[in-house]
Amino acid sequence: MSSAPRVLSLEERKRLKNVRIKKHNLANILLHWFNVASWFVLLPTGLAILISPHFRVVSLHFNNILRSMFGGLFNLLYFHQTWGLIWIFVILFNVILGFRKYFVPFSSRNMMMDRDDIEWFKMKPLQVLGFKAELPPQGAYNAGQKAYSYVVFLGIITIMITGLIMTFPEYMPARWIVQWALPLHFLAVGGVVAGLVVHVYMGAIFPEEKSAFFSMFTGNVDGLYAYSHHYKFFKQKVAEIEEWEKEEKRKIAEEMLLQREREEREKRQEANKEIES
């Protein structure tokens, strides 16, 4: 299932497995798990609010159990809205503060589609259906993950805006804005949830992605995983290390040269001193 350029020997695989490559920083990790917790809370409470037979997508039992747990619709709504506001604030805080230094470079580097991604979209379905298909090398995030990131980006913005509209309807200039906020909120959540099903499976259940799962705690993936699934990322990291090593070697050589010159100068000075005396 990998997009590796060649098949590695067992020796190479063992060696690569012990190499640690950093993929996620601490802020990323914390934000991710905050988001997980928030969705664990916001999704069920949100679904429990939606009780109309026209629009309900859970069982009536579920609606009633949650309403009982919270002590009524008002408390349930209040909880959902309050957590929602906190969720919005935390995400925006992260994104806005890190916008120039992190969000923009991260997105432009990791989330833009290229030729390999388009090829991946053609090959991956064939592979899934069981045909032999070679996947083009992928960067830090594969094409599927990139596509989902767009869904999440648009989805979360929609969820936030429509959520705010429904929480502060008295400030809306027209009632149709509130009316449309409801189905749009639902649509955005639905889109993200559909993708979440794949994201959670891939991240937590699919065995080949185990390294990725743990990287969401440690911040690091192992070299074998990176080589196999995100070769362009691996290459870039290796290239960075090579570049660094080259730079190190050059610096050491330079240092040695400078050192030798210094020693020769001192020898010559001492020799001159001896001749004079």
Binding site: L50, S52, F74, F186, G195, P207, E208
Partner: protein
Amino acid sequence: MATKKKYGFVIDVRRCIGCNACTVACKEQWKVPVGHSRNWVLDMGIQGSFPDLTQTFITGQCMHCDDPPCVAACPSEATYKREDGLVVIDEDTCIGCGYCIPACLYDARFYNEEKGVADKCNGCFDRVEEGELPACVATCVGGARMFGDLNDPDSQVSRMIRENQTVRLVTDETNPGPNVYYIGLPEELYSEVAPHPSELPAAGKVWKKGVIPVVGLAVGATVIGQAIAFGAQLLKGESIDE
């Protein structure tokens, strides 16, 4: 064991004098903004030609239906039917989305701009709980409006229904079980007070018919897809890389 209450109205159209005391009493009781009304008195106009004339006044309000389409339309049940049958709106949880308004077959609901919520007759439930009559009934000058427990055979409303011919504003296609019974409603006026079908606003229709099926398909597809993948994974067993 006492039976559950089922509050309802009986309106004797023959006694309505079109004075609108009920409208004003309700507005005063609930501070309804000018331009809206929780109840109404329809002046059906002077009918006939001089000097053989008739005039009927038909008063009404929310019918506190058995199966209220407005309650079904509310996404969160901020409007709900009480144990005693009265349909009310919880102003603290209503966000004023207005889905319930076109859902009412009798146009009994309206949007209250001052409060930012949906608004309608609530059966004066706090007066009723104290053993009083709703404001409109208490003030009715002609004695046309009556209110009480339809499940109590000795109540005035039950007696009036037994002793008189009554109609409710329903058709064969549209019958949400209204709990307002009319006495003396002239047959030729039925078509003018017939209920219209319950509707959702455009956003609600799109939600119900478009968004939910699409989301259902998407989530269903991914769940099924991943379930299959998981099944395959289990069958395959662990590989050397793991």
